[in-house]
Structures are given as structure tokens and as C-alpha cells.
């Protein structure tokens, strides 16, 4: 068969295309003030850091990482509660990147070395399989993540396919309320790059408020370096014309209405409540919890868990500022010295979507800015991929 998508991917990765867009960005950036662009997705940060995109952008264009890492924003109090369950003898199933995230005192990984049964699963479907294969054991699935992940959890609950020995500790959070919280309170973003994969589920509509009410443009973008560059170009183009808009750059995967079936399952099973975000505080209408019809799957009810105050940010750790883009990891005195992926002090150093962890991998080894700028430019202009 013809493979247009392969061709598109090759084009998206071609240095010629990147070079053209970078030149457009340079041209558009002339004669305008500072433009502050906030993205809210760990995968975008990964692309930006890995390909050194910040270094090839003009000085007046700032790309800032917002709260886009699900394990980073899960409050310590919720991790503590799951650890308590695990230590009491219930087996806990979790995604791998939650394993080493520090709670108030321990991580799930440390709980495991104290005898708790903590296992990593790749998907909620795996969790169901594990629970089915050991019917005499009780399991709790630690359901973290944004809309993208909540959408994968809901259908099997709605379809009644969750075995009796499996319940869920639901910690899902929603992205648009967090963006709106930043717009309302303290974040001087001029524009957002919206997360592509969350948007495949929720579609474009939830972002319409930003141009309308807050006069901030939003560009929904994919995860190739060129997707990010095109998003920046679009934002500069709008800025230059004094316009604000919602633009879907990732139209190959995101429909205006989102994934209607996924949304139907999600809101059949979950309802929206206020929720705390680690390092940020309570954000109105930003958390999912099981509706009363499905409460029998709720681990909090099943085991009578009480959620106690936790220690979200340890003294000295600047994760709270890093998560909302008020600081970058290199502003933290512990970065790459005391705090490393093997010995994380804060949640941002753990997951491959955490800003500190990403910077540890890609930015730490960078020498002077000039040589790095050259390297990134060289990548974008000359490499053939």
C-alpha cells in the first residue's frame, strides 16, 4: 500500500523543512516584544530538550515547561495512601514511572524493599490480566495520568470487565483546568502549546476559552521537532498580526470533537471534582473520581483509606516552581549534584516526563551556550534523518 504517513514522518524529520521553519521564526520574531510560550506536556519538553529547540530560537521567544508530567503533580498524600495500602498487604499495580516518585517519606519502590507487593504494569488491561490470574489476591491499580490515560481506564469499568479482586485508587487530573488556573492567577503566558495526545481525547473545544477570555493563543501540536517549530511559527505569526486564535497543528491525529467514544466512557464512569496538584495547590474542577454507581471499584471506599496531609516539596527542592515554569531545573542548587535520577529529591527528577529528569539527560551535558547552539543548528540544518 502507499504509505503517505511514512512520507510525512520523513518530511517532518527532514533538516530542510526544519531549516525553513527556523528561518521563518527568525524573520517573524524581528520587531516584536518578548513572547512567552508555555507548553503543558512532558513529551513536548522531551522533544524541545532533546533537539535543543530552545537554543535555536531567537532570544525574545521563550519556551517554558508548565505542569505536564502526571506523576510529578500527583500529591504526596495520595502516594502515601497507596504506600500504606501496599504495606498493609494489598498488592499495588502501578505504571513504571510512579515507582520511584517520593511520597512524604517513602516511594513505592522503597515500600517494596520493605516487603510490600508493588508491581509495574504497562496498561490498565495488564492490571486486569494480573488480577484475573491471581483471583485469591487483592489488587489496587494506582490510576494516575491525564485525560489520555483516564480514557484507557474508563471503558473496562463501564463494560463491567473489572474483576472483583481489583479496585482503583483514582488520581487522574485534567489539563485544561490547570491551564486556566495558570491563566487566571499568575502565569503571564502569551500563548500555549497544547498537548497533542491529551487533545486526541478532548478535542479542540476545551481550549476555546483561552483566546476568547484570556486573549491567549493556543496551538495544539504533535511531537516531532517540526511540529513544535511549526507551533512556535504559528504563534509568532499571530502575535505579529495582533491576533489570538486556537489552531490545531496536529490535525492528523486530533479531531475538533476529540475521541467521542472515549469521552463517553470517561464521563459515564468518572465525575469532575476539585483536586490538589503537587507543587501547585487545589485547582477547581481538575480531578476525576468514580461516580457513585462505580464506587464499588473505589479503593478508598473498599479499604476505608483516610488521606492525610503529605509533604509535597522537601526543603530546598524547587519542583513547585519548576512545575509552573517559574524556575528551570538549573536554578535549583541540588540539580545533578545531590538530586539525580537514582536519588531523586523531588518528583520532577523521576519520570521521563519530569522537567528535571529531562534536563538531567539532555541539558546537563551541554557546554557553553554558543557551542550548543551551533550543535543544535547543525542538527536542524545539516543532519539527514
Amino acid at each position: 500500500m502507499t504509505d503517505e504517513y511514512r512520507q510525512l514522518l520523513n518530511l517532518l524529520r527532514s533538516s530542510e523543512a526544519a531549516g525553513t521553519v527556523v528561518r521563518d521564526i527568525e524573520r517573524l520574531s524581528r520587531g516584536i516584544d518578548n513572547v512567552k510560550i508555555v507548553h503543558v506536556c512532558g513529551t513536548h519538553e522531551h522533544t524541545i530538550s532533546r533537539f535543543g529547540i530552545r537554543l535555536i530560537l531567537p532570544k525574545n521567544v521563550k519556551l517554558i515547561a508548565g505542569p505536564g508530567c502526571p506523576v510529578c503533580i500527583t500529591p504526596a498524600s495520595e502516594i502515601d495512601a497507596v504506600i500504606e495500602l501496599a504495606l498493609s498487604g494489598v498488592a499495588v499495580l502501578t505504571f513504571g514511572d510512579m515507582l520511584r516518585v517520593p511520597g512524604s517519606e517513602l516511594s513505592l519502590f522503597q515500600a517494596r524493599s520493605r516487603g510490600a507487593d508493588v508491581r509495574v504494569v504497562y496498561s490498565f488491561l495488564d492490571a486486569i490480566k494480573v488480577a484475573r490470574s491471581e483471583p485469591s489476591r487483592e489488587f489496587v491499580f494506582f490510576a494516575i495520568g491525564f485525560e489520555t490515560t483516564a480514557a484507557t481506564v474508563a471503558p473496562y469499568i463501564a463494560l463491567g470487565k473489572v474483576p472483583e479482586n481489583l479496585s482503583l485508587f483514582v488520581s487522574h487530573r485534567l489539563i485544561p483546568p490547570a491551564m486556566e488556573f495558570m491563566s487566571l492567577l499568575r502565569h503571564g503566558a502569551d500563548a500555549y502549546i497544547a498537548p497533542g495526545h491529551v487533545s486526541t481525547i478532548i478535542g479542540c473545544k476545551p481550549y476555546e476559552v483561552f483566546p476568547k477570555v484570556y486573549r491567549q493563543s493556543v496551538v495544539i501540536a504533535g511531537f516531532e521537532p517540526l511540529d513544535v517549530l511549526l507551533a512556535v511559527k504559528t504563534i509568532l505569526d499571530l502575535t505579529k498580526r495582533g491576533d489570538v486564535k486556537l489552531v490545531n497543528e496536529y490535525s492528523r491525529a486530533v479531531r475538533y470533537e476529540g475521541n467521542v467514544l472515549a469521552l463517553k466512557y470517561m464521563y459515564r464512569v468518572f465525575e469532575v471534582v476539585d483536586g490538589a496538584w503537587r507543587g501547585i495547590g487545589v485547582i477547581p474542577q481538575s480531578k476525576l473520581c468514580l461516580r457513585s454507581e462505580y464506587r464499588r471499584y473505589d479503593a478508598v471506599e473498599r479499604y476505608g483509606i483516610s488521606i492525610r496531609r503529605g509533604i509535597d516539596v522537601r526543603p530546598g527542592c524547587r519542583c513547585g516552581d519548576v512545575i509552573v515554569g517559574r524556575a528551570v531545573p538549573t536554578d535549583c542548587p541540588y540539580f545533578a549534584k545531590v538530586c539525580t535520577p537514582n536519588n531523586p529529591l523531588g518528583p520532577c527528577m523521576v519520570s521521563m516526563e519530569g522537567t528535571c529528569r529531562i534536563w538531567y539527560q539532555f541539558e546537563r551535558t551541554r557546554g557553553g551556550e554558543v557551542s550548543e547552539r551551533e550543535r543544535a543548528t547543525e542538527y536542524l540544518y545539516n543532519s539527514s534523518s
Partner: protein
Amino acid sequence: MCLGIPGKVLEVRGDTAIVDFGGLRKEVSIVLTPDVQPGDYVIVHAGFAISKISREEALEMLKLLSEVVNSIKVPKTSSR
């Protein structure tokens, strides 16, 4: 967690599909994208295909890009 990877559907088996990720094959759930067919590209997140990649939109983008990047030719193979 939000890492979504594009892959190509090889085979559909009820509510799961075998998806090829550049040589690596995995079984993924298609309860959220029940209309996918072999040959389609999908975005897979945490074991679930969450979105089908639109051939029309991909072609559209390919065309747009070819206009700005002179040296790139519009593919003649398009199956429109």
C-alpha cells in the same frame, strides 16, 4: 505516561489489534478506536489505540510542507 507512539495496524482481532512499531509488534486494545482497519496508522498510549491518524490530514500537511520546502516533491503516490 503521555508518551503516545504511532504504529501501523497489521491485524484486527475483536477488540484488540496487532500493531507494528517499526518492527516491534504489540497487541493493543482498540475499544477506543473500534473502526480501525489493517493498514491504518494509530497513536498508541498505555496499551490503547487512542486515535486513528487521518490520511487526508496527513496528505494535506505533506502538501503544505512541500509548498514551503521547495526541494520536496509532492508524492505522486497519493491514493485520493
